[in-house]
């Protein structure tokens, strides 16, 4: 992947360039201290990934994302954690790194970009997510949920109810949207209103599954797929 860095702070650019040089498959094409200079470069040079600072004089990282045509993947880099909500409202923004960047967190951000690339290429196949968590938006807060803790998800009108082993979350979205965000290896839609984590099934009886204390219906249409996915003796 060809990448560039846009950050008005030299220290930040140096640190990112070290991380990039350590990452196989990443090539640093150029670095810029201003977003305007980077825009000129992008007009003539195709780039796969931009490391972008939010706080820059004159032209902020968000201004840049809004203006640039067909933006590549963007990893935001900032010392400010208050912009997470806005960050994830832009499709091109793959991740959000807080300075000083930790190596493990950098690697995870690159994995996310790679995962997004895979999704773009394998459009018709079931997506494979390497992410271990999902962020949900409740009352303008982004709350992290570990995917392994999710037991089931139920559609409730304009909302979905995400049931984890210790808490429920009511989120304004659709079952279809969250289905695409979950690893298909573990999660299966077993009814038009229910997605379950197959690993959390306690037992199956007739047309229902027991997960935790909930009995969840299985539609006729989805029963075959469910049975196919189980490790039956």
């Amino acid at each position: 992947m060809k990448c560039i860095i846009i950050d008005d702070e030299k220290m930040a650019r140096e640190i990112l360039s070290v991380f990039i040089s350590k990452t196989p498959g990443l090539t640093l094409m150029a670095e810029f201290s201003s977003a305007i200079d980077a825009m000129k470069f992008l007009n003539n040079n195709p780039i796969d990934l931009i490391f972008l600072d939010i706080h820059m004089p004159v032209f902020s990282g968000f201004d840049f994302v809004k203006i640039v045509k067909n933006p590549p993947h963007v990893i935001l880099v900032t010392t400010d954690t208050n912009f997470a909500l806005e960050a994830f409202s832009h499709d091109c923004i793959a991740d959000y790194l807080v300075k000083p960047i930790q190596e493990e967190r950098f690697e995870r951000a690159i994995q996310r970009v790679n995962s997004k690339n895979s999704q773009t290429i394998i459009v018709d196949k079931t997506e494979v997510h390497s992410t271990k968590e999902i962020y949900i938006n409740i009352d303008k807060r982004l709350i992290k949920i570990d995917i392994v803790l999710i037991e089931s998800i139920q559609a409730k009108g304009d909302y979905i109810n995400i049931k984890t082993i210790n808490q429920n979350y009511l989120v304004h979205t659709t079952l279809k949207k969250i289905e695409h965000k979950l690893p298909s290896s573990n999660f299966l839609k077993i009814h038009r209103s229910h997605i379950i984590n197959i690993d959390k099934i306690v037992d199956i009886q007739d047309n229902s599954v027991l997960i935790g204390k909930d009995i969840i219906p299985v539609s006729k249409k989805n029963r075959a797929e469910l049975m196919h996915r189980l490790n039956l003796l």
């Binding site: 070290v18 706080h55 000083p100 190596e103």
Partner: protein, 108 residues
């Protein structure tokens, strides 16, 4: 216990590569004093918003030299400056002096 500036983050990043370590130290040694100088100009001219923007930049370097509590304190100070207040100025500037001294020590 009082926090002490250190090169742990830079060492970890350089992973034994002395050229990388030197490059990173050179950058912090040239960029930090310049930002502090601009910060002081902004403070002296009571330009709190510019001072906030400079604290924002300096904050990263505070983190790079391992001063985690000071990093958090700098966030509060930055927010305070955005409100045109500067109650934490003196404490913040003490931390700047500490880092300036540290950067001078590793240079010598």
């Amino acid at each position: 216990m009082e926090e002490v500036p250190n090169l742990n983050y830079i060492d970890q990043l350089a992973n034994g590569d002395l050229a990388i370590k030197k490059r990173l130290i050179d950058v912090i040694q040239s960029e930090f004093p310049e930002e502090v100088k601009q910060y002081r100009v902004s403070i002296n001219s009571k330009n709190w918003q510019d001072a906030a923007a400079l604290v924002h930049k300096i904050k990263h370097k505070i983190g790079v030299v391992g001063l985690e509590k000071t990093y958090e304190f700098a966030k509060l100070y930055e927010d305070q400056l955005k409100q045109n207040e500067h109650k934490y100025q003196s404490d913040f500037e003490q931390s700047l002096l500490k880092i300036e001294l540290f950067l001078k020590e590793i240079k010598d």
